[in-house]
């Protein structure tokens, strides 16, 4: 008696079914791998974006700090500029004062000379107003004429 071969058929069918399952699973695995790859790419992008976001935030903070620093420096520069101008003004005024006082001294010297001249003139007038002694008469034109005649 010949033994039936249900197993063989079953096995073949099972092999076929299993092969199909394997193919399906393999396809699913491939799909999952692709999906995972996408996820990995997305995750990398997210990480990159997050890193860029951090850098942006950091840069914004740096810009803010630098802007504050700029305001402080601008104020300081303004103060230094004004101080420099004040120094220049003081130096210029010092020179101007020196020259003005020198001019004033020269003017005072002129006034003093004029006072001396006025005093001399007053003295001259006073002497002229005195009665002339006889000796003075010798210097008059008439005396000179007399002397030349003699």
């Amino acid at each position: 008696m010949k033994m039936p071969m249900p197993f063989r058929r079953d096995t073949a069918a099972e092999i076929k079914r299993t092969t199909g399952q394997v193919s399906q699973v393999a396809a699913k695995l491939t799909a999952l791998q692709e999906k995972r790859a996408e996820f990995i790419t997305d995750a990398a992008e997210i990480a990159t974006l997050s890193s860029i976001g951090d850098e942006v935030a950091s840069t914004e903070r740096l810009i803010s700090t630098l802007q504050e620093r700029l305001v402080v420096l601008d104020g300081r520069r303004k103060e230094e500029r004004e101080a420099s101008l004040e120094e220049r003004k003081a130096a210029t005024l010092g020179e101007l004062e020196r020259r003005l006082r020198s001019e004033a001294d020269a003017a005072v010297a002129v006034v003093d000379a004029f006072v001396a001249a006025a005093n001399a003139y007053g003295r001259y007038k006073e002497i002229r107003s005195r009665p002339r002694p006889w000796s003075d008469l010798l210097t008059t034109p008439m005396a000179c004429q007399l002397v030349s005649t003699i």
């Binding site: 004040e86 005024l93 101007l96 006034v111 003093d112 006072v115 003139y121 007053g122 007038k125």
Partner: protein, 51 residues
């Protein structure tokens, strides 16, 4: 020149000199008090910008 004017000079000279000296003092003090003009500050700012 009038004689009166000439003989009057020695009496008037001290007051004249005082006026001159105090005028110089007042002028210098006024200049020291005066603030630096805004135009000068602006010029300095522009000079800095160019430098």
């Amino acid at each position: 020149m009038q004689e009166h004017g000439i003989t009057d000079v020695p009496k008037r000279a001290p007051a004249l000199i005082d006026r001159l000296r105090s005028s110089v003092d007042r002028s210098i003090a006024r200049l020291r008090e005066e603030p630096i003009p805004k135009a000068t500050l602006k010029d300095a700012e522009e000079e800095e910008a160019v430098a």
